[in-house]
């Protein structure tokens, strides 16, 4: 059981990483792109997701 848990933790770290919002945002962005069929949706989502992710760390740093 411990090995299964360790493998799950490895898989989570490998795929999801430090910020789960990035993985969730990518899935949502791909679904929206598939529905709307517009090329600019994915870059727009990427800009927002990356900005939110790094600025939440910069903001929480308290400086």
């Amino acid at each position: 059981m411990n090995r299964v848990r360790a493998f799950g933790a490895f898989l989570y770290d490998f795929v999801i990483g430090d910020d789960w919002r990035i993985a969730a945002g990518v899935v949502v962005a791909l679904i929206v792109t598939a529905v709307a069929g517009a090329w600019w949706i994915l870059p727009a989502f990427v800009a927002v997701m990356l900005g939110v992710s790094v600025w939440s760390v910069a903001g929480s740093d308290g400086s």
């Binding site: 490895f10 490998f14 795929v15 999801i16 990483g17 430090d18 910020d19 990035i22 993985a23 990518v26 899935v27 962005a29 791909l30 679904i31 792109t33 598939a34 069929g37 517009a38 090329w39 949706i41 994915l42 870059p43 990427v46 800009a47 997701m49 990356l50 900005g51 992710s53 790094v54 600025w55 760390v57 910069a58 740093d61 400086s63």
Partner: protein, 249 residues
């Protein structure tokens, strides 16, 4: 070679070089401290396991319909790429400590030295650490080669680029017999993250049914835009926190 092929080769080369530096640091630390023989056995078994995984996954991946492959691989590359860019931005702005190969080498060396005596025969500690290090970093190399290669219908080119990267890092590591601390790892990770993110954006959108203006030439705009956006964030965060030194995130 075409521009896209160069992009594929350079991206795979840089990504695999970074992973190889990390694996080599672990192997050198445990090998110099414990048993080279057991370490090499661990490396060998890990390479056999990687070959088996590649043989099992490769054909399955290339058999998928192109659009399904592109949306799945594009999504995964985008997630990996954004994680790399995020970490590189945080390191460049001092919000996360640098990945210090010398420190990792020393930490691994000390824990290897403190793991009990080494007998004459097989050393399970050296074997396990070398096996795990090479397998985990190698899995990332395999993933990069298969996904980039399958997407561009050129797995051999991706495999050659990865092979050159691994050989170059191993030769450099053997030559200096020390961690490759002088490799500007954060800069490399920044570049690789930008490339993975850009290819992820392009393939993900294509796989989801969107059509890029200019087709593959759009990558020539996407890559600089992702790079510029990442650098803009570094500049803005640095301006906001000018006096900050390295702080652990």
């Amino acid at each position: 070679m075409t521009g896209t092929e160069w992009g594929l080769a350079v991206s795979v080369f840089l990504a695999c070089a970074v992973e190889s530096v990390e694996a080599l640091t672990i192997v050198l630390a445990v090998g110099t401290t414990r048993s080279w023989r057991s370490t090499f056995i661990g490396v060998g078994v890990a390479l056999v396991a990687l070959a088996a995984i590649t043989a099992a996954l490769g054909p399955a991946l290339t058999a998928l319909p192109l659009n399904v492959l592109r949306v799945v691989v594009g999504g995964l590359l985008l997630i990996f790429g954004l994680q790399w860019v995020r970490k590189a931005i945080l390191r460049a702005t001092g919000l996360k400590s640098m990945h210090d190969e010398e420190e990792i080498f020393e930490r691994q060396r000390q824990s290897a030295a403190g793991a009990g005596g080494v007998g004459e025969g097989f050393d399970p500690y050296s074997f396990t650490i070398a096996f795990k290090g090479v397998l985990l970093e190698g899995l990332e190399v395999v993933f990069i080669v298969l996904t980039f290669g399958a997407n561009q219908h050129d797995v051999p080119l991706a495999a050659v680029a990865a092979g050159i990267a691994v050989a170059a890092v191993v030769l450099a590591g053997v030559a200096v017999s020390a961690p490759l601390a002088r490799v500007p790892e954060n800069t490399l990770k920044f570049v690789v993250g930008v490339m993975l993110t850009s290819f992820g954006i392009f393939w993900g959108a294509e796989g989801a049914g969107a059509h890029w203006p200019g087709d593959e030439a759009a990558l020539l705009v996407v890559v600089p835009c992702v790079l510029a956006f990442a650098l803009l964030n570094v500049a803005l965060i640095r301006r906001r926190t000018p006096s900050r030194e390295q702080v652990h995130a």
